[in-house]
């Protein structure tokens, strides 16, 4: 079947989608947004979290056809989304046009010097600064969830952070530095407002 929806502000159309495919599969394998991760495909880890019409959901449990005509924001569009938050509409994102990660790109991206030039959202920067990233596989989902938390609750308590992120498993960090990162992003956000 054909599916049309908007990813990170850009309209996408894909054909030949098998009806049993999830939104996650279509994003990763057909649209070139592999940032959302496929860790459990049963809604028990949060690694595939995206915003669907603004709401954080597990994209592995959304049938691709259910996304028809809707707005999806993935980790790839998070920085842009955060920048445009005040305009209350998502930005234009950066669809690569390819599918998955082509080998050439993958080669150049492994390790590398990592001096990315693009501007990060506050929560992305805080994750790096606080040491909340190890293997990084849970990171995209956590970022989307944490970004939404700070959008709705600018100064969350520790328990609020824990509750909001209780659907996102991390196996590397023991979560302490993830808490640090969310606290850091909240504090920076407050400072910026002042």
């Amino acid at each position: 079947m054909r599916v049309n929806f908007t990813v990170n502000g850009r309209k996408q159309e894909v054909d030949d989608v098998w009806e049993g495919e999830s939104l996650l599969y279509v994003l990763r394998e057909r649209m070139g947004f592999p940032g959302s991760k496929n860790a459990c495909e049963q809604g028990e880890c949060g690694s595939c979290t995206v915003r669907l019409d603004g709401v954080p959901v597990c994209s592995c449990l959304v049938a691709a056809g259910q996304a028809e005509g809707r707005q999806v924001v993935t980790v790839e569009g998070l920085a842009d989304y955060a920048r445009h938050r005040e305009d209350a509409h998502p930005g234009t994102g950066c669809a690569t046009g390819a599918c998955g990660t082509p080998l050439g790109t993958a080669r150049s991206r492994q390790a590398g010097d990592g001096q990315g030039t693009e501007e990060l959202s506050p929560i992305q920067q805080a994750f790096i600064d606080a040491g909340a990233v190890q293997c990084g596989f849970c990171t995209p989902g956590l970022l989307v969830a944490a970004d939404e938390l700070l959008e709705t609750q600018p100064s969350p308590s520790d328990q609020d952070i824990r509750e909001a992120l209780s659907g996102n498993l991390c196996r590397c960090t023991g979560y302490e530095k993830i808490l640090d990162a969310v606290r850091l992003a909240a504090a920076r956000q407050e400072e910026a407002v002042r």
Partner: protein
């Protein structure tokens, strides 16, 4: 003249002096940020499951539904005929004489031949144009199984009439085991435990059970194999050790190693679970057969069958002590279930046996450890590797002994704590700091977390926050039945590969001038699995070469082996290799400088020279020349191997031998609150103190300790792969029923890092990753025992163990 950064002899227990590059920003000792951090937070970092290639096919594995069965026939006819299917492979399609693989013993069939030995064993492979096509085709493969009796424990494995899991064993352990269903057995005997037992005023014994833990890394097994024009294959994969994979893959493909080119893809965690092969050979076979790139990605269900787990264990321990609390003797027997294939079982046995005593001084010991072959899921490497199971038992014993002696459990441990100079049961003398008593002192001295944190006063009285209570969001208690408990534990782990293994790494370091700036490039085959090795390599290069710009090359097999990212060894061994190669590069750069500029300034010949801030300087701080002028358009490029001190094999009868290269220690204090009526546990705080020798990157060190601590917490209260004892089938292969801690299960983890240098290690560092996983579990168990008064001899503790229902 080599410029050694450290003085020849540093008194034990003092911090290491770093001379070379200590002024260079971003060097060792700083919490520099991950070089892959930006890619990882933007979703651009390419994990092995993200690989994509035009025209690629999807590979799928058909796995056995039985744990032990003869295969009478396999009918692939209908599967092959399915539109969209490009290949269906079984054992008969394997191209080379070698049809097995294995880390140490090549006992694992690439595809089942004649029989399957465990639930989920790969039997056939399908390549198709869509994963669903491959799945549907695989479902059409008909396998006629004849069920065989299952071996599931020691009794069934060693019964006189037991079916042999592997017939006709020829490996080098078969000669010293009592039964072919025992993979390996290692005794460690020292002194005379029987005689010493006579001196004991108090003797405590216990039988302990350790459940099967899964690594549960979040990035599933996956990768992409691309056939190349020369008949070889390129493999992009997530692994812990590229060269070990290569050594096992190439013979099965019938290819020379140089035709199998491996590149490390992004690795979504490992924890030991990627030390063995999973989809590597399968993807290559399908790619070579179809002539097309083949991608394979396990889902979570398959992942539980796709890698080995932590050995479940049954342990019997006996400790004796005099009235004043001095240990007289220790006897123990550790039975590990290795499952259907050997994997790392022999080395796990060696670790369990040699570390069975824990960080204590006991002169008279009688230890036996062994691993079984069974039809349970294969078990192998996982963080802590044999030492975890032993630590769970000996720490329970220490509490039991303290209770029997009416002593404080921490004081009892401190009284018997090993230290530098202690002779271990293997006869090896500990020749670097071993601050066991100090680590315990530090966790004990911490202030206690406040009581009843679930209560908060507000205008209308008090309110309850269930998120701070056992049961959490499930709203099971508002304080009823909740009792606090405190427990302590400390552990002993080896660092690096032991028992005479040639444990080395390789680093290629290049220095050149790019756009007027000196740049170092570091190339190793080290698997970055999240631990931060890439961060540390850049720091080492900055420190050793005095440059700010360092490029880390992708890990692949174009450079020599780095060994495994396991055994807490990579910073030590590959870090050591990077340092070693950097030193050689630096020496060559200085030589170039001497040739070019030596005649202009006497200091080139007389002073101790350093590279700092992109310049050659004297140890007095005088600048001699910018590196850009020394190098001009020349590049220095050196690849060297580096190895740690050699170790020895353990004697097969006595376990004597200098088997380990370094030891690491962590201590925990767990504070828990238990709903004693419902048997639910909330860990309130899990404080850790660990000696890391030298924290090359303090932020990463703390992250490792907190992560390791949390995995220990998981197996204390929730994590266990359940295997049906009647059928040997896995009952909970999903994240719905194999639970790992969420952020609401994980407490605050304050960490106290000690840095007492080990003079034998680069920069004095000590491996970090595993030690916290050892002591965390028994500390939590001790705290639950403290809260409930129950014996609790098994982990994980389930609610029914606490409630007795």
């Amino acid at each position: 003249m080599a410029l050694h950064p450290r003085a020849a002899s540093v008194p034990a227990g003092t911090p290491t002096r770093i001379t070379q590059g200590s002024m260079t920003k971003g060097g060792i000792g700083e919490s520099t940020l991950r070089p892959d951090g930006t890619l990882k937070v933007t979703g651009e970092f390419a994990y092995s499951s993200d690989m994509w290639h035009e025209d690629m096919l999807w590979g799928h594995t058909l796995r056995s539904t039985m744990a032990h069965a003869a295969i009478r026939s396999i009918d692939i006819g209908e599967a092959v005929a399915t539109p969209g299917v490009y290949a269906v492979l079984t054992y008969d399609d394997l191209p080379a004489a070698m049809k097995n693989y294995g880390l140490e013993i090549q006992d694992t069939p690439v595809l089942a031949h004649g029989k399957v030995r465990h639930h989920g064993e790969p039997v056939a492979l399908v390549a198709a144009d869509h994963p669903e096509t491959a799945r549907r085709a695989a479902a059409k493969i008909r396998i006629d199984y004849a069920e065989l009796p299952v071996i599931t424990d020691e009794a069934s494995a060693t019964a006189p009439d037991a079916v042999l899991v592997h017939e006709g064993r020829t490996d080098h352990h078969i000669g010293h085991v009592a039964h072919p269903n025992i993979v390996h057995r290692q005794p460690v005997v020292r002194g005379d435990a029987d005689a010493a037992a006579q001196r004991a005023d108090v003797v405590v014994t216990g039988d302990y059970v350790f459940g099967m833990q899964d690594q549960a890394f979040l990035g599933p097994e996956s990768g992409l194999a691309v056939p190349s024009e020369d008949g070889g294959v390129e493999l992009y994969v997530a692994t812990q050790w590229l060269h070990s994979d290569l050594r096992q893959i190439a013979p099965v493909l019938g290819l020379p190693e140089d035709k199998v080119r491996m590149t490390l893809s992004g690795v979504g965690g490992a924890f030991g679970g990627r030390e063995d092969l999973s989809m590597q050979i399968h993807a290559c076979l399908l790619a070579l057969r179809t002539g097309k790139p083949v991608k394979m990605v396990y889902n979570r269900f398959e992942s539980f069958f796709g890698h080995v787990h932590r050995h479940p264990a049954r342990l019997h321990y006996e400790h004796g002590a005099t009235k004043d609390g001095r240990l007289t003797h220790m006897r123990c027997r550790i039975v590990l279930d290795g499952g259907a294939y050997a994997s790392a079982s022999p080395a796990v046995v060696g670790n369990a046996a040699s570390l069975a005593v824990g960080p204590y001084v006991v002169e008279d010991v009688d230890i036996e450890a062994l691993a079984l072959y069974s039809n349970n899921p294969p078990c192998g490497a996982m963080r802590g590797f044999g030492a975890v199971q032993a630590c769970f038992a000996y720490e329970a014993q220490m509490d039991k002994l303290a209770a029997a002696l009416d002593m404080d459990p921490v004081e009892l441990r401190q009284l018997n704590a090993m230290e530098q100079g202690t002779l271990l049961p293997t006869g090896q003398r500990v020749d670097s700091p071993a601050p066991v008593a100090e680590l315990l002192r530090r966790v004990k001295a911490r202030p206690m977390p406040p009581e009843q944190q679930w209560l908060s006063a507000d205008a209308g009285g008090s309110s309850v926050d269930v998120r701070a209570l056992p049961g959490g969001l499930s709203n099971t208690t508002h304080g009823e039945g909740v009792v606090r408990g405190v427990g302590y534990a400390v552990g002993l782990k080896n660092v690096g590969f032991s028992e005479g293994f040639d444990d080395y790494s390789t680093a290629r370091v290049r220095m050149e001038v790019i756009n007027g700036e000196p740049v170092a490039t570091v190339h190793t085959a080290m698997a970055e699995v999240g631990q931060g090795g890439v961060t540390v390599h850049a720091q080492i290069a900055r420190t050793e070469l005095g440059v700010s710009q360092v490029t880390i090359q992708p890990a692949d097999t174009r450079v020599g082996s780095a060994g495994s990212t396991s055994a807490s060894r990579q910073t030590y061994v590959t870090g050591g290799a990077v340092k070693h190669s950097c030193e050689a590069v630096r020496e060559q750069v200085l030589e170039m400088g001497r040739r070019k500029f030596g005649t202009y300034h006497p200091a080139w010949a007389t002073a101790e020279l350093l590279l700092e801030g992109g310049k050659v300087v004297t140890d007095g701080g005088e600048v001699l020349a910018p590196l850009a002028e020394v190098l001009e358009d020349e590049a220095v490029d050196i690849e060297l191997e580096w190895r740690h001190r050699p170790t020895e094999a353990f004697d097969l009868r006595t376990g004597q031998g200098n088997g380990h290269v370094q030891y690491s220690f962590a201590a925990h204090r767990a504070v828990v609150e238990v709903d004693t009526e419902l048997g639910l546990v909330k860990v309130i705080e899990l404080a850790c103190a660990q000696d890391v020798g030298k924290a090359l990157n303090p932020l990463s060190v703390v992250g490792q300790i907190q992560g390791g601590t949390t995995q220990g917490l998981g197996v204390a209260v929730m994590e266990e792969i359940l295997v049906d004892p009647k059928t040997a089938k896995v009952r909970n292969p999903s994240f719905t029923d194999y639970l790992i801690p969420t952020i609401l299960d994980t407490p605050s983890i304050p960490v106290d890092v000690l840095e007492l240098a080990d003079d034998h290690a680069p920069y004095g560092l000590r491996g970090v990753g595993e030690a916290p996983t050892l002591s965390s579990t028994p500390a939590v168990l001790a705290a639950i025992r403290n809260a409930t008064g129950l014996e609790l001899n098994r982990t994980p503790v389930r609610p029914e163990h606490i409630t007795g229902t």
